[in-house]
Symmetry: C2
Subunit: 133 residues, 2 copies
């Protein structure tokens, strides 16, 4: 008896998740106020979406107060990981290398960020050498 994995969030759902990760546990109103700035929609639209996300298990809620308080079910990094893995499979035949290449070409990356990435890679390479001993 295993629990179903959370389904891939849709575009609108991901927008809400991003707000919740940023703000932490929040009410519908708080989420709506943030979203409304960049993408004007009605309050009940946000409400309905969050109710659906709750049904799907993407978010959980605390109903003890009149205004329910919602929080994400999974940490940001874990969801990002899933999304990347999904894109990897759907568009890159599973090749992380190709995806990384495209990502670095798709957007200018600051020298500091490049250095961090290089460091991560060097760590992975060191780990490989370690393992093969």
């Amino acid at each position: 008896m295993r629990k179903k994995p959370a389904p891939r969030p849709t575009d609108a759902e991901l927008a809400i998740l991003r707000v919740l990760w940023k703000l932490g546990a929040s009410t519908v109103r708080e989420v709506h106020e943030v979203l409304n700035k960049t993408r004007p929609t009605g309050y009940t639209t946000a409400l309905k979406l969050m109710q659906i996300m709750h049904e799907k298990g993407l978010i959980s809620r605390d109903e003890s107060a009149r205004a329910h308080v919602y929080r994400t079910s999974l940490p940001e990094g874990q969801t990002q990981q899933s999304l990347v893995r999904d894109l990897l499979d759907r568009a890159f035949g599973g090749s992380a290398q190709q995806l990384v290449m495209r990502a670095l070409q798709a957007k200018k990356t600051s020298p500091e960020e490049l250095a961090e990435i290089r460091q991560l890679i060097e760590e992975l390479e060191a780990k490989n050498r370690e393992d093969s001993k």
Copy 2:
């Protein structure tokens, strides 16, 4: 009077694009035969999808033969780039660094691939130093 950019392909559409990139220009039957192995569906499903993709501008077709021959409108790399950029914006706040990190964690990458990525990064870093002179 500018042409509309090709919309983001849906899951089923991307699966078809992948076959077309792999095989090159192909008929519906050829595409369907490949897809049918991994995801059994009817022939007319593939046909309909490809007709819609043609309307959207995702693929073009040569109607001179009885069996139309379809080809992708954009090269694989360009579409991959768009998809990565899209995910970057929707889930990573535009941070390529974060996305790369997640990609490398999401999937084991071979030492050879890691080396290639490292090389790309070193090239980008060299280019940065060059530019800042």
